[in-house]
């Protein structure tokens, strides 16, 4: 077999696509990205600026500014949390791109807008709420479901046949969706869209940073907690009949439960990259805390959510403010988000990258010149040589018994000959922990228990095909970290 060249270059120069985000910023340089839908943009707060997003969407944003110069008191929760922790945790910027009506798939547009405005591609904190707008048949999302309970499609016979729909309602009216239909949409959201969304967002976060997912508050108070006169005389809450409230609450509960589960799964999958996910349960923690009479849905004693009347009272007749958190709601949510700092958000969970523990290597081949994982010294990737002369190349890592697991994803560098097959093994204190064969184009995630292991050996050898000259080793363990 032919020996490879031994020019040592960094992966950062040769294969930037393999690199993860840079490590967490120093205090003072930290950056916060506020993504999300209308519950994050502050739609329910009077005085929001209305801007046109790059995709043409009409965004009401309570970002704390009327324009680029004049400040405003209209501040969504992310702005309030940012201001609360800015000094102590050394934040230098907040990029606010949350937008009314945004669906999970709109996150790309928001990211592009943030990157264009901020001139950066990674942040230390990303906050967001997504999912509510993915539940409607049209563009209205959960709001569309609520409006479907208003019996507002028309008078007489037109009232029982929703425009553009084959659904025929009973004359007595009511919501035009069942719990089962809503649950099906939520399941689809959680299984198909949220995992992709969370993975995408995690890719924006520097190792050691965090993603904060804020759940949705219950919009309507429980009927049995309404005032007597509302429960027994009006029998409706802002146009929604008492009998429809349990359905809406049940749908909202299910949505939040499933989002919370998705967040837990994302955290488990992405924590090893040094990105932690946190879920803020807006209903249970803020709007309707257990064992408390302090409740804040519409038709409670002290609502933090706008009713139907907000259009007239806010002074700007913006109907979209209906059924969205008001200033008090965002104040409370902002405080809850800020309270995560110092408790679960500490910026100290930057993972140790595998190449940082390198203690030596055994290069092979006629050149006899070793080259090892220091080629990945500035990235989250660990580069390793492959033995091409009938013997394996080895790279040694000193774990010292201080770690529990090693994880990452094995790939071969883009310039690897396509017919090459490589045998890769990991040995802990002489015992084989992992083995696989690897071809170009394959991605093989690994997560190995290394509890008690003092010395780890990564052994790689070409077993089929012919090597070419190459500036760095063919082997790459991307996002390889120990924890």
């Amino acid at each position: 077999m032919k020996a490879r060249a031994v020019i040592v270059l960094t992966c950062a120069l040769l294969a930037p696509q393999l690199l993860g985000p840079q490590a967490a910023a120093a205090p003072g340089d930290r950056a916060w990205l506020a993504l999300g839908d209308s519950f994050s943009s502050g739609e329910g707060i009077p005085g929001t600026t209305t801007v046109r997003a790059p995709d043409g969407a009409d965004c009401a944003r309570a970002n704390g500014f009327i324009d680029q110069i004049r400040p405003s008191e209209a501040k969504a929760y992310a702005v309030r949390a940012y201001e609360a922790v800015r000094a102590e945790y050394g934040f230098g910027s907040l990029d606010f791109v949350a937008c009314t009506g945004a669906k999970a798939g709109d996150v790309e547009t928001q990211i592009e807008e943030a990157e264009d405005k901020a001139g950066r591609t990674s942040w230390d904190i990303v906050s967001l709420s997504f999912g509510g707008n993915d539940l409607g048949e049209g563009d209205g999302g959960f709001g569309e479901i609520i409006m479907g309970c208003l019996d507002a499609w028309g008078w007489g016979r037109t009232a029982v046949r929703r425009p553009g729909s084959s659904i025929v309602l009973p004359p007595a009216g009511g919501c035009d969706i069942t719990y089962e239909e809503a649950a099906e949409r939520i399941d689809a959201l959680v299984e198909q869209k949220l995992p992709r969304l969370y993975k995408r967002v995690a890719g924006l976060v520097r190792p050691g940073g965090d993603v904060i997912v804020v759940g949705y508050p219950q919009i309507f108070e429980e009927v049995n907690r309404w005032d007597f006169w509302r429960r027994n005389v009006l029998r409706n809450c802002e146009g929604i009949r008492a009998k429809d409230i349990p359905l809406l609450r049940r749908i909202s509960d299910y949505l939040n439960i499933k989002i919370a589960e998705a967040v837990v799964r994302a955290d488990a999958q992405l924590a090893q990259r040094g990105v932690r996910f946190h879920y803020v349960d807006a209903t249970a923690a803020l709007y309707e805390p257990e064992n408390s009479d302090e409740r804040h849905a519409v038709c409670s004693q002290h609502p933090w959510i706008n009713g139907l009347t907000v259009g007239a009272r806010s002074g700007d007749f913006r109907y979209q403010r209906t059924f969205h958190p008001n200033t008090s709601g965002h104040e409370a949510t902002g405080a809850a988000v800020a309270a995560l700092f110092g408790k679960v958000i500490r910026f100290d969970d930057v993972p140790v990258q595998l190449h940082q523990l390198t203690t030596g290597y055994a290069a092979v081949g006629p050149s006899g010149i070793p080259a090892g994982p220091e080629t990945g010294a500035t990235s989250a990737s660990t580069n390793f040589w492959v033995g091409c002369e009938g013997l394996p190349a080895e790279t040694y890592f000193g774990l010292g018994g201080a770690y529990h697991s090693v994880s990452g994803e094995l790939v071969l560098a883009p310039f690897t000959p396509p017919d090459l097959m490589i045998d890769v093994r990991l040995l802990g204190d002489g015992r084989e922990l992992f083995s696989t064969t690897q071809r170009a184009g394959q991605h093989r995630p690994f997560s190995i228990d290394v509890g008690g292991v003092q010395n780890l050996v990564l052994r790689a050898q070409a077993i089929v095909g012919v090597c070419n000259s190459a500036p760095v080793g063919y082997g790459v363990a991307t996002e390889a970290v120990v924890s």
Binding site: P171, A172, L234, G311
Partner: protein, 166 residues
């Protein structure tokens, strides 16, 4: 003499009964419903901003009073007049489209009246949707017509309390 007195008393009693029966018969369905709904109406919170509500209902919100009149017309007809149903549906659809009705109701200053008008709106829509079979059973166990009677009576009582002239 005693016979004469007895006869006069009997005559007066008979007359009174007849008058009562006549009076009772002439009482409108709305009046009866208002009498039945008085206790419920008394449970509502006090009127907070009567002047603003009167001004609204005689100005921008005036179409809501026409909706209320339509509701009374329907309950007086018992929802059994197919021609009246069709006429009312057409009239409302052209003069007060549903989305406009919702919008006007949301701006009613008095909280309780706002909720009651919404109840009347949905009840009226249900009655018109059920025409000409005005006795269709609603999901809540009552009839759609009965719900309209209750809702219209409560609206009317609240309008009385607020001092809205009709």
């Amino acid at each position: 003499m005693g016979f004469l007195v007895g006869g006069i008393v009997a005559l007066i009693a008979t007359t009174a009964v007849v008058v009562l029966v006549v009076l009772h018969s002439s009482r409108s369905a709305l009046d009866e419903a208002k009498a039945a709904g008085a206790a419920d109406s008394a449970a509502l919170p006090p009127v907070a901003d009567a002047d603003a509500t009167v001004a609204y209902l005689t100005g921008e919100g005036a179409p809501l009073m026409r909706m209320h009149d339509t509701a009374i017309g329907q309950l007086e007809a018992g929802g059994r007049d197919a021609a009246a149903c069709a006429r009312d549906e057409m009239e409302l659809t052209s003069s007060l489209p549903m989305d406009r009705a919702v919008g006007l109701i949301t701006n009613v200053p008095d909280d309780a009246l706002r909720g009651l008008l919404d109840r009347e709106r949905t009840a009226l829509a249900a009655v018109l949707a059920a025409c000409p079979d005005g006795d269709k059973v609603a999901e809540d166990g009552g009839t759609v017509a009965e719900e309209l009677i209750r809702a219209a009576a409560l609206v009317d009582l609240r309008l009385d309390d607020i001092g809205v002239a009709r």
